[in-house]
Amino acid sequence: MSASIDALVNKEYQYGFVTDVDADTIAPGLSEDVVRLISAKKNEPQWLLDWRLKAYRRWLTMTEPHWPNVKYPVIDYQASRYYSAPKSVKPLQSLDDVDPELLKTYDKLGISLTEQKFLAGVAVDAIFDSVSVGTTMKDELAKHGVIFCSFSEAVHSYPELIQKYLGSVVPYSDNFFAALNSAVFSDGSFCYVPKGVRCPIELSTYFRINAADTGQFERTLIVADEGAYVSYLEGCTAPKRSTNQLHAAVVELVALDNASIKYSTVQNWYAGDKDGVGGIYNFVTKRGKAMTNSKISWTQVETGSAITWKYPSVILQGDNSTGEFYSVAVVNNKQQADTGTKMIHIGRNTKSTIISKGISAGEGQNSYRGQVKILPKATGARNYTQCDSMLVGNKCGAHTFPYIEVANNSATLEHEASTSKIGEDQIFYCKARGLSTEQAISLIVSGFCREVFKELPMEFALEAQQLLGITLEGSVG
């Protein structure tokens, strides 16, 4: 992991992201001028500015959704700053200034000191070796014709691709937070895999430093052209400090005919302290469009954020396309999660699988909310859904809100859900074998989540298990 981090740090200086750093903080508030200013600062072409403005105007007419099963104080959208470059955040002077809880977690995850400083947002000197892993990766990708760069870079270098696919899956008018993101998005990642290319490496935001702090309104666009394959990893297992409370990201995936996209996320934003003070509001819109014979697979491990509100979805547009959703969502203390998926079956013989594992501990509230929709033309559609919840402790809650809508009789749907307490017999057995209660819980929970973990890339899977153990720490007295 440290090699990737080195790469990350190294990258920071390569990209032009921070060139106009001094002017990079604008006054709080949101208006058309702010949208124009953001666009101007990023030197964007007119068409993108027009798109942003359209989104902003639409956003003004929308109201914040309150249907999720989460509670939070009213967000004042005029109090936020909508543009601030990474450097303008005042760095902490040393690790002593960092929340000691955070440091403890780093230790448990076995993260090196320099890495810890980096993750906690402490100013780091250029003491790293400049082994340019990132550049090596870039060369390798270029050889195959894979484009992987920051969104801002892509706007300038590949405008025709951006123009073609931006908003094609999540239109700016999609929902309140997507509209807000479309109006003020700061940066993000863009990936394009050409026809018939199998991306040789697993793409990760680790390789690009600007993705590590793209601000609160991140935008990701991944296009797999016909017959292409790409696996993309987002996020980081280590908790990250962020000065922004509201994160409203948008992720769009386009899988053209016979293409396949695998998108894995480990989300571990700051969850707030034990009493629920602070923490990130993670309101994300993620959606993929699958054309004929293509496949989109979402895997997510959600352990962080005070509030998580996200539904990675797949529009199964083409015949024989496949959508998958594997999720582990853990809430502890006062965390709240309302997460799930949408599988929209439009094409014939489309298939979808949903495996969701929710774990609630402390006073956490975990909701699975999913929709499976079979449209009249989706002959032979197939869905299998399993959502299980585990309760640890007696102050938490687990909720399930599945929406199953079928308008074609050749479709076959199965939905199963269960909620149960963590097995006392199992804990007792583990303890009899010499494990501590916490180790036992960690083991049982890992087993409970196995179906999802096995979908994660190897390195991620191991870290995710450790992370789960840490998140649940102290949940049983």
Binding site: S389, K395, C396, P402
Partner: protein
């Protein structure tokens, strides 16, 4: 809405009981405020009541029309048995000539709402609108405002009524364009046992609106069963709400059978407020043409050691639309809850639709709750098997469809009713499949 305001103003105020007009007034105001639910309301997401709202039905609270129906006609319309205690209402008006319920145990009181308001007004006052959530649910508020007649059943301590009490609501030709608001109030005290069958039938194809509300109080160790057979005219509209409260060690069984109405909505809400109570909510609905049937169940586990079981099955043919929304709520104190909910839908035609939403909301940790839902068509392997054994394609379909329905019908504990419904279901499939 304006039509209802006029109709409400025209209602003859009932005399003697000041609280009743007050309750009705409050309920009507609530109904006006809430209005008809729209599909933006989460509880009505899949069911649009626009046809009901637009039609402006005329409440049939006024003068009673002479019915030409005989007891034989009623018996032919609604499955029942001559040994049952029977109360018949035509277009919402009680028909003593068609009713027979004299053989009840002496301490049991079965009265029409109108009678009960005269003889035991306090009993009614304490309970009417108590369980029914007229402050939140627009249709319940509407029923409370316009309620004309109904049945009040009081089964005292330890009394067991062997034969079912059959409440038959008949809509005849005079019901065209009318709105009927039946009400049922049941109080089963400690160790009491009672079984109620509520039938909604029609003599023809009239378009009318039935908005029924039942409030059922199940005392400690009491056993109450409520069967609802909804066979309204296929041009009619039906909204029925059954609200139940269960004390400790009680048992409640609800079965909802529905084949009628152009648009129907059945709500079964039960509140398990005492320890070790058990509730079973089952149902079967069969729709065809452009019919729409919506079932909503809500089980509130508010005490420890309670169990709930649910099985709803739907068979949808033609361009019909089935909706099922089952919610299970487990309160933090309701430890050791055992909840199970199952919902299966069978789509017989390409244009039939089903929307299902089984919900779990759990706040206690030591619980076991599951729900399962499936949607599909007849198993082609099973069809193939039957055909290979020499059963014709159509017969094989009928047989498999009937078998699908039979699993739900088996849960009916009254033999007469079960056999009667089984026959009707069988007939229905052999008949519709021969078209």
């Amino acid at each position: 809405m304006a039509t209802y305001a006029d109709a409400f103003a025209a209602l003859v105020p009932s005399t003697g009981n000041a609280w009743l007009p007050e309750l009705k007034r409050a309920a009507f105001d609530r109904f006006t405020t809430l209005g008809f639910p729209t599909t933006r309301n989460e509880d009505w997401h899949y069911t649009s009541v626009t046809p009901i709202a637009e039609k402006a039905f005329r409440p049939m609270g006024g003068a009673k029309t002479v019915t030409g129906l005989s007891a034989m006609d009623v018996a032919a319309l609604a499955i029942g048995d001559s040994s049952w205690h029977r109360l018949v209402f035509v277009n919402g008006h009680f028909e003593p000539a068609l009713s027979a319920y004299a053989g009840l145990p002496a301490d049991v009181s079965v009265l029409t709402l109108a009678e009960a308001l005269k003889t035991t007004p306090e009993f009614v006052m304490e309970r009417l609108g108590n369980l029914a959530a007229w402050t939140d649910a627009p249709f319940t508020a509407m029923n409370t405002a316009f309620v004309q007649d109904g049945v009040v059943i009081h089964v005292p301590n330890g009394t067991v009524i062997d034969e079912p009490i059959h409440i038959v609501h008949v809509a005849d030709a005079h019901a065209e364009g009318g709105a009927i608001f039946p009400r049922l109030l049941v109080v089963a005290e400690e160790f009491a046992q009672v079984t109620i069958v509520e039938s909604h039938v029609a003599t023809g194809g009239e378009s009318y609106f039935t908005n029924a509300v039942a409030e059922i109080e199940v005392g400690p160790n009491a056993i109450v069963q409520h069967y609802k057979v909804q066979q309204e005219s296929t041009s009619a509209f039906h909204v029925g709400t059954i609200q139940v409260s269960q004390a400790r060690d009680s048992s409640f069984h609800s079965f909802s059978f529905a084949t009628g109405a152009a648009l129907s909505r059945t709500n079964v809400y039960t509140r398990l407020s005492g320890e070790n109570a058990e509730t079973r909510l089952n149902g079967l609905y069969m729709m065809d043409g452009t019919q729409h049937a919506d079932h909503q169940t809500f089980v509130e586990h508010l005490a420890p050691h309670c169990a709930s079981r649910e099985l709803y099955k739907g068979i949808l043919d033609g361009s019909s639309h089935g909706v099922f929304n089952g919610k299970v709520y487990v309160d933090p104190i309701a430890q050791k809850t055992d909840g199970k909910q199952t919902n299966h839908a069978l789509l017989l035609s390409e244009t039939a639709k089903v929307d299902t939403k089984p919900q779990l909301e759990i706040f206690a940790d030591d619980v076991k709750c599951t729900h399962g839902a499936t949607v599909g068509k007849l198993d082609h392997m099973a069809l193939f098997y039957l055909k290979s054994r020499g059963v014709g394609a159509e017969n094989a379909r009928s047989l498999l469809t009937y078998a699908f329905a039979a699993e739900a019908l088996e849960l009916i504990e009254i033999d007469t009713l079960r056999i009667g419904l089984e026959e009707r279901v069988f007939e229905h499939f052999t008949h519709t499949r021969q078209r």
